[in-house]
């Protein structure tokens, strides 16, 4: 029903089994970080992999989603589901406004404009009182989901995070395999031709952008709930760079690439964290290696080795 091929169905089952088994082996909070990063990258892949839009400002939507979820949780004590929905809506509205501006240019200008707009959002967050400036919004309660599921238990929170990730993952997959998704791919391959066939390509690009930003907002909101904190790091441009790296390393335009990339990048950060700026150096080096020699990414290379599309 989601348009999976046979190989992809098997890969999907493997992924679900891994998600179910891993919290009994690994630290759930670490895994939740992987899952939110994976959701963020999957949403980003919808744009870069299927429409060919390279946005360098996705941190704006992730970070604002995280701030708004944290704020509604802390100030209004709403249900966790409502707070996450608010996070997604924030991503959607911001995505609509910034996307409307950025879509006016394509290619590298699009990348520069999204970077600059996200920088503006960053400065806004630095100054605006509700974000708590340098301190961020701290001690955000996890609260309850649907009124009766207490999220303070890490395992419960893990299952919710996993459900949010799988929901987002399937949604993106469904979008790509819908008639709408086919038009997106057509635009990626040859935009003037798509225009000549009567498609309003700008509208399609904007809708894809907004969808991606909405999911980025949900990912940010979920992350804020998991860690109980929303900070400037989430809106900083290094977060935008990180999601690009994650998707590139996993494989642009592959179904499972972003999740794989998230696993590798997050683990790397976890283990290299004690070495300070070496994280940045390693990330930069991976970027360069990927671009020079490894453009299909981990999943892309694996797929071409096995001659299947993953």
């Amino acid at each position: 029903m989601f348009g999976f091929s046979r190989a992809q169905s098997i890969a999907f089952v493997v992924m679900v089994v891994l998600i179910v088994v891993s919290p009994f082996v690994l630290y759930p909070v670490f895994l939740m970080r992987v899952l939110t990063a994976a959701l963020f990258a999957t949403a980003f892949n919808l744009m870069i992999g299927y429409v060919g839009l390279l946005s360098f400002g996705q941190a704006a939507f992730f970070g604002m989603g995280s701030y708004v979820t944290a704020w509604t949780m802390k100030m209004w004590h709403v249900d966790a589901s409502i707070a996450i929905i608010f996070g997604g809506l924030t991503g959607a509205v911001l995505g609509l406004v910034l996307g409307y501006l950025a879509i006016r240019r394509s290619g590298i200008y699009f990348a520069m404009i999204t970077l600059a707009l996200a920088q503006m959002v960053y400065f806004f967050c630095l100054e605006a009182p509700f974000t708590g400036g340098e301190d961020g919004i701290q001690q955000v309660p996890r609260g309850h989901l649907f009124g009766f599921i207490n999220l303070n238990n890490d395992m419960t929170m893990y299952w919710v995070t996993a459900a949010v990730f799988l929901g987002g993952f399937l949604l993106v997959h469904r979008i790509i395999h819908s008639p709408f998704g086919q038009v997106l791919k057509g635009i990626r391959e040859n935009e003037p031709r798509a225009t000549s066939l009567g498609y309003r390509t700008d509208d399609y690009k904007l809708i894809a952008f907004v969808l991606s930003c909405t999911i980025a907002g949900v990912a940010g909101g979920t992350k804020a709930l998991v860690f109980g904190i929303a900070t400037l790091t989430d809106v900083h441009y290094s977060t935008s760079g990180e999601v690009v790296l994650t998707t590139l390393l996993g494989g642009l335009g592959t179904v499972f690439g972003p999740a794989m990339g998230a696993l590798v990048v997050t683990s790397m950060e976890n283990y290299l964290a004690q070495f300070g700026a070496w994280v940045t150096v390693t990330q930069g080096a991976i970027f360069m290696i990927c671009v020079l020699a490894f453009r299909r990414g981990i999943i892309g290379e694996l797929g071409s080795f096995l001659r299947i599309s993953l």
């Binding site: 240019r105 441009y237 300070g276 940045t280 990330q283 970027f287 671009v291």
Partner: protein
């Protein structure tokens, strides 16, 4: 005291001068980006990191070799320019047949590596660089006191920007360069070594960034993040000006610096974002940029 629009004259002129200085850096950096983009068709994301390397090169020359400010003004851009040429030869040139976005991703990775290495070696707190003796002090201009070094920065930047413009627009070398930008295969057919031209262009653009870095060293502390702080704004400057014209880049750079300076006087809260607001307005009214060619 002279009052202008209810603002004390010296304050207004002081901020205008600060704006001009920021504008000088915007102009030099966006100029280099535009020249590189014209020839290589890539956006050099590492431009900020190379600007920072210029500042560090002058600091190292002073502290390790004992070479002062003025020789460093020539030597540092030369050294960093050579580094740029090596980069172009070894890595960047492998990407010309690919989508432009890969160039952006590669140079972004490059900037992470460079900045990370400098942060490991020197920390992020920054190191002072003394203003050379001859440029110490301030001059009374009648309406305000101008610190000599700041005046020098604006002057030097103007000279460098205008000479770059003159080289590109008025010399035979510049004519070849412009022709190669328009149609590289045709120029190559005339016997011009286009790949070498591309390498030199990248080296030149990088040297320009490093020169700006040396000028910036005494004003801002020499630290690994100084490039990143600038470059995000410079990208907005490039979007506003469009990369079609050399003079356009220079005018947009200085102009936006002044706009930023004036915002600091009249509405300080917005001074960090005013360039981005201008970018939004330009995108709405004239998406191709003030000096950009139609797509």
């Amino acid at each position: 005291m002279i009052m202008i629009f209810g603002i004390p004259g010296p304050l207004l002129f002081g901020q205008l001068l600060l704006g001009l200085i920021n504008g000088a850096f915007y102009a030099m950096l966006s100029l280099g980006l535009a020249v590189i983009f014209g020839m290589l068709n890539i956006i050099n994301f590492a431009h900020g990191a190379l600007f920072m390397m210029g500042a560090f090169a002058s600091w190292m020359l002073l502290n390790y070799v004992g070479i002062g400010y003025f020789p460093a003004l020539i030597l540092a851009p030369l050294l960093v320019g050579i580094f740029g040429i090596i980069l172009e030869k070894t890595v960047i040139s492998r990407l010309y047949k690919l989508d432009h976005l890969y160039g952006l991703l590669l140079t972004f990775g490059l900037s992470l590596v460079i900045e990370g290495l400098f942060r490991n070696a020197y920390g992020s707190s920054g190191m002072p660089y003394r203003i050379p003796n001859i440029l110490q002090g301030a001059t009374n201009l009648g309406f305000m006191y101008m610190p000599n070094y700041r005046g020098w920065v604006v002057l030097a930047a103007l000279v460098v920007c205008l000479s770059t413009w003159a080289i590109i627009e008025k010399t035979p070398l510049g004519a070849t360069l412009r022709a190669a930008t328009e149609n590289a295969p045709l120029v190559q057919a005339f016997g011009v070594d286009v790949p070498r031209l591309i390498t030199l262009t990248y080296g030149g653009g990088v040297a320009l960034a490093a020169f700006a870095g040396v000028l910036a060293a005494p004003i801002y502390s020499v630290n690994p993040n100084m490039g990143t702080n600038f470059i995000n704004t410079v990208f907005a400057v490039v979007v506003i000006g469009g990369m079609g014209s050399i003079m356009g880049s220079i005018l947009t750079g200085f102009g936006l610096g002044v706009v930023e300076g004036l915002t600091k006087v009249f509405y300080p809260q917005a001074s960090a974002t005013v360039v981005f607001v201008v970018m939004v307005i330009v995108l709405l009214v004239r998406p191709r940029g003030l000096f950009g060619k139609a797509a």
